[in-house]
Amino acid sequence: MNPALFRLLVEATGYTVALSAVSIVAGLAVGLAVATAMLSRRRALSMPARAFVSFFRGVPLLVQLLLIYNLLPSVGIDLPGIVAAAIGLTLCTAAYQAETLRGGFAGVPRGLVEAADMVGLTPVQLFWRIRVPIAVKLTLPSLVSEAIMILKASSLVSVVGVVELTRMAQDLAASTYRPLPIYATAGALYIAVDWGIAGLGHALERRSRWGRA
């Protein structure tokens, strides 16, 4: 393939990766908050959290992106497409991660929490030092597949004008009339990033093996 075309595809991959990475990390933060709210005994917290999760898991990402992109300007907030895309992806993955993490939090043995309670950890300290590490460890494989899902879902953000890998491939295919090598290259680039994420996941799992062989 023409090296100039290849360069363009690699640059677009950079957008895809950056957008996905920002969304996954921000989504983890939002997801933690939402999972905690879902588990709260206060309905004023758990109900909105549940509604958030059912909305963002139930409505197609494409619709969410178009909603955010069109809704916010209508209330006076003018967003560049890339920001709308990041917000859409973040909220979507946050909903999935929240549901996963909720299971993880429920899987933290009660005795470990009681032990922390007995040595005087405050609820906030207990959350960050005991519940979160154990819940994340329990759900790490699901969180890694969620990261790969989001990478693939990021191909949808072209609807709000962001030229990421898929959109760049479309544009190049249309202008060069040589779709096959271009889409094949795009596919290969996605796989390369998938491997990167999987490798990162393995490294994290090794780090959190806590002595287990």
Binding site: L112, M118, V119, G120, T122, Q125, R212
Partner: protein
């Protein structure tokens, strides 16, 4: 309701303690003093309420009625003329800081090493520098004979070693009182000895201890006070000699028979 005044000098006093789970009354008015510097053993058949009583003493379980005083300070609830009032969480943590708890299942945090488990609260709660916290934690591990395992994760330790780390974790905060809920029940028989030895040494050093145990031998030899629970009440209380002396209360006899049968069954 009239309740006896708490004994002066008791490390922990329980007065009129009632605990219900739904309609099920598990503790029906417990009065007990835990004398400072002595070992109090709670024995009794399965389901008699030993764990529930111990957990109420630590406020891991909220009593339905009655009071728990730790060094004279109410833990969890305080009785006022208007009724029972729950104390603020910070107050509960402050009173509870005098209590160390050891669980049947060890409950070590799996993502921290032995040293990390012992040092965690020193750093997070006591806000010591890392070096200082780890030095103290290491000293504590030494007292349970595990300084050589400091860098091991719980999954890399035997049950007996895990329980000794758990004891070190509780001791690191210098509690005035240690509560043990069947600390050897989930251990292989050959590992119970190392844990009981640590507990014997603690007792000899004058630590105030409340021990729920099926190790009748330990209760009889180390305990200064034995309370026999049955059906949510303290049926017998006194020195081991007084409680285990013949002729025995029929319920205690029955309990000891079952206990000995179980022991004998394991030998067959």
């Amino acid at each position: 309701m009239t309740t006896a005044a708490a004994t002066v000098g008791a490390a922990l006093s329980v007065r009129g303690l009632v605990k219900r789970f739904g309609d099920h009354e598990v503790l029906s008015g417990i009065d007990l003093d835990v004398p400072a510097g002595a070992v109090t053993c709670l024995v009794g058949p399965s389901g008699s309420g030993k764990s529930t009583l111990l957990r109420c003493m630590a406020f891991l379980e909220e009593a339905s009625a009655g009071t728990v005083l730790v060094g004279g300070e109410p833990l969890g609830f305080v009785d006022t003329p208007e009724g029972r009032r729950r104390l603020p969480a910070a107050r509960i943590r402050a009173v509870r800081s005098g209590i160390g708890m050891v669980f049947q299942q060890f409950n070590l945090w799996p993502h921290m090493t032995a040293l990390g488990n012992v040092a965690a609260a020193l750093r997070v709660v006591r806000r010591l520098e890392r070096a200082e916290a780890e030095a103290r934690a290491m000293a504590q591990l030494r007292t349970v004979g595990l300084e050589g395992r400091a860098g091991h994760y719980p999954s890399q330790l035997s049950g007996g070693q895990q329980q000794r780390v758990a004891i070190a974790r509780a001791l690191a905060l210098e509690p005035r009182l240690m509560l043990f809920d069947e600390p050897t029940s989930s251990l292989d028989p050959e590992l119970t000895g190392e844990v009981l030895n640590v507990m014997r040494r603690l007792a000899a050093d004058g630590m105030t201890m409340v021990v729920v145990s099926h190790e009748i031998g330990f209760a009889a030899s180390v305990g200064q006070q034995v309370a026999f629970l049955d059906g949510g009440r303290i049926l017998l209380r006194g020195t081991p000699q007084e409680v285990f002396r013949k002729p025995r209360h029929p319920r205690l006899d029955q309990f000891l028979d079952t206990y000995l049968d179980r022991g004998a069954a394991m030998l067959v």
